[in-house]
C-alpha cells in the first residue's frame, strides 16, 4: 500500500474522481498554478486544465453559489475554501441555499456539492484563520460534515463526499496535512457516518475527531503507562454520526469523555453527550461527563496563548488523569 501525506491523499481523491467522472470539477481561490494556499491542488491544473481546475476571484459567496448552480444542472463541484474560516462569507449560500434546496423544494432537486478547506489552529494564523466551525454546520439539517484524522480516511471519505448527492462540508486540519500514512489506491470510498475505535479500553470512552484523535491517542498511551485503559473513538464524520458505536462503547466503559479543538460552548461535544444521555447507555454511566475542548475564546496569536487555547496532549492527559482518579478510584 502506498504511503502518502494527508494532503496528498486529499489530492489523490480529487484526482481520482476527476479522472473517472467528467462532472467533477474544482474551483477556488489560487488553486490553479499556485496549487492552493496549502498545496492541495498542486499539479491538477496541468493535468485537467483551467476549466475543471478553476481559479476564482476572492468571492466565497459567489463561488459557493456557483457550485450550487452547477450542481443543479448536473455537475459535481468541489469548492475549496482557502481557509475554512472564509466559509463565513458564504453562509447564505451554504445554509439558506445548499442545505435547504432538497428539502424545501419537496425532494425535487439535489445538490451534490463538496465544500472543503483547512480548519484548525496551531499555525499562528490567529483569530480569523484558525477556527473549527464544524458545530455551525452540524447544526444545519441538510448538510453533512466530515472531519478526517488520517490520510487513508481523508482519501476514502473525500471519495464518498464527492459521490454523495447531498452537500458535504469537508474540514481538513492544517496540522495534519504533512502527516503520513498508508493509503489504499482503491476505488472504494469510506461510508460517511462510520466511526472507528482507534484504541480499545475499559475505563472510559473518549469521543473525538480530526487532530484531536492524535492528541487523545497520545494522551491515552501516556496514561496507559499509569494503568489507565482508555477507549478512543474517531467519529470521522459528524453528520451522519455513528452514534451506535458511541453508545455501545459507553455501555462497556461506563464513562464518557468528549474531546474537540473547537470551543466548548455550543460545541459538537455537547450534542454527543446529550445523545448518550438520551440513549440506553445512560443507565451504564458511572461518572459525569468530561469535556476537553478549545477555550471559549477566539483563537489567539502568540504561541503560548495559542497553545493554551487548544487542547494539547499535556492538557488532555492531565485533565483525564485528574478526572479518572476522582471518578474511577472512588467507585
Amino acid at each position: 500500500m502506498p504511503e502518502m501525506t494527508y494532503a496528498a491523499a486529499i489530492r489523490s481523491a480529487i484526482e481520482w474522481e476527476m479522472e473517472h467522472d467528467p462532472r467533477v470539477f474544482i474551483m477556488g481561490e489560487d488553486i490553479g498554478v499556485y496549487g492552493g494556499a496549502f498545496g492541495i491542488t498542486l499539479g491538477l491544473v496541468e493535468k485537467f486544465g483551467k476549466d475543471r481546475v478553476r481559479d476564482t476571484p476572492i468571492a466565497e459567496e459567489g463561488i459557493v453559489g456557483a457550485g450550487i448552480g452547477s450542481a443543479l444542472v448536473g455537475m459535481k463541484p468541489i469548492v475549496e475554501m482557502q481557509f475554512s474560516d472564509f466559509i463565513v462569507n458564504a453562509m447564505d449560500q451554504v445554509v439558506n441555499q445548499a442545505a435547504k434546496i432538497h428539502f424545501m423544494f419537496g425532494g425535487r432537486m439535489t445538490v451534490p456539492l463538496v465544500i472543503r478547506g483547512p480548519a484548525g489552529a496551531g499555525t499562528g494564523a490567529a483569530a480569523q484563520h484558525s477556527q473549527s466551525l464544524e458545530a455551525w454546520f452540524h447544526h444545519i439539517p441538510g448538510l453533512k460534515v466530515v472531519m478526517p484524522a488520517f490520510p487513508d480516511d481523508a482519501r476514502g471519505l473525500l471519495l464518498s463526499a464527492i459521490r454523495d448527492p447531498n452537500p458535504v462540508i469537508f474540514f481538513e486540519h492544517k496540522l495534519l496535512y504533512k502527516t503520513v500514512g498508508e493509503v489504499p489506491d482503491s476505488y472504494e470510498g469510506i461510508p460517511l457516518g462510520s466511526g472507528v475505535i482507534r484504541r480499545h479500553g475499559s475505563h472510559a470512552t473518549i469521543i473525538t475527531y480530526s487532530l484531536m484523535v492524535h492528541r487523545t491517542l497520545e494522551a491515552a498511551e501516556r496514561l496507559a503507562a499509569k494503568g489507565w485503559d482508555l477507549e478512543v473513538i474517531d467519529l470521522r464524520s459528524l453528520v451522519p454520526m455513528d452514534i451506535d458505536l458511541v453508545v455501545e462503547s459507553v455501555k462497556r466503559t461506563g464513562r464518557l469523555v468528549v474531546c474537540h479543538e473547537a470551543v466548548g460552548r455550543g460545541g459538537v461535544g455537547g450534542e454527543i453527550a446529550a445523545r448518550v444521555m438520551e440513549s440506553e447507555a445512560f443507565d451504564y454511566l458511572d461518572a459525569p461527563l468530561l469535556r476537553i475542548t478549545g477555550l471559549n475564546t477566539p483563537v489567539p496569536y502568540s504561541p503560548p496563548l495559542e497553545e493554551a487555547f487548544m487542547p494539547s496532549v499535556d492538557r488532555i492527559a492531565q485533565t483525564l488523569e485528574t478526572w479518572l482518579e476522582c471518578e474511577v478510584v472512588t467507585q
Binding site: 459567489g62 453559489g65 448552480g69 452547477s70 443543479l72 441555499q97 434546496i101 432538497h102 439535489t110 448527492p165
Partner: protein
Amino acid sequence: MNRATEQAISKDATLEEAIRWFRTMLTIRRFDETIDELFASGKVHGTTHLYIGEEAVATGIIGALDSGDVITSTHRGHGHNIALGGDVRAMMAELLGRETGYCRGYGGSMHIADQSLGNLGANGIVGGGLPIAVGAALGFVMQKQPKVVVAFSGDGALNEGAFHEAANLAAIWRLPVVFVVENNLYGMSGSVKEMFAIGHLAERASGYGIPATMVDGNDVFSVWEAGSQAVQVARSGGGPTLIEAMTYRYKGHSKSDANRYRSREEIRDWRKRDPITHLEQHLSSHGVDHTMLNEIRDEVVQVIADALKYAEESPWPNPEILEDSVYTREDKTGA
C-alpha cells in the same frame, strides 16, 4: 414601442405568441388575485409576495427563452413559474400546503421550483438566486450545452453582495446569463431613490463590464425584444447582459404591507399603465377579436378556480416522513 416590434407582431406566428402571452399574463394575475383573496380571508397562512402589475416582465423574458433554458426566480416568483408553463394546480396546492403541491407542502409561496420546466427555484433570500444562476450557466458551458440562464431579481437585490459577486463571475467567465432586474421602485418600503445613489440601476452593470439596457417592464413587447437580444448574445458566447425592467407592484410587498411609504396617486398612475390592458389594446388594434380575448379571460378564471378546488381537495402532507426528507440517497440533478 419601436418599429422592430411593430413589424414582428405583424407576422402571424408572433401574433399567436402575443395571444399566448395575453393568456399567460391573465393567468399570473388571476392566480395572484386568488392568492390575495385567500390570504385576506385567512385560508392560507404564512406570507406571499404578489406579482400583480409586473406580469409583462416574466412573460416577455421567458417568451424569449428556448426549451432547455433555465431561470432562477425570487420571493415574488409565482409569475415566473406560470410564464414557464408551470402547473397552477400544483402551485395552488403548494400555497395551501398540500401533498400535491410542487414541493409537497415543504416550501410554500417562496419556494416553488420546477426543474422539468427550467425553474431552478424561487428564493426567499434577496439576491440568493444570483450566484446559483451563474453556476448553472457555468455548468452549461462546461457541458458544452448552448443553454441560457435568466437570473430574475428585484431592485433590492442589486444592493446585496451576492449580486456583486455573481455579476463579476458571469462577466469574467463570459457566462450565458441574463440578469433581469424587475425594478418595481421599492425594496419592501425602501425606495430606489433612497437606496441607490445612481439614477438608473442599469448603470451599475458597467462596473462589471456587462452591457445593460432599460425597458418599459409593462410593455411585454419591449421586454421580449430586449430579452431576445440578450438571450441571443448569451447563447452565442457573448456573455451576460443586464436588463432593467421598469415596473410596479400594485399590491404591498407582502401580506404585512400597509403601503405607508407610497401614495395612492402613485399606485393609481401606475395602474393606468397596466401591462395587460396595454397588451389587450395592442391585440385589438391588430384585429384580434374581443370575443376571443374574453373567452381567454373566462378560461383563465376557470383554470384558476379549478386549481383552487384541486388544492382544497388535496390531502395534507404526512408529518411522519419529515425527518426522512432532509437528505437524499439519490442524485436527481442533471438537465
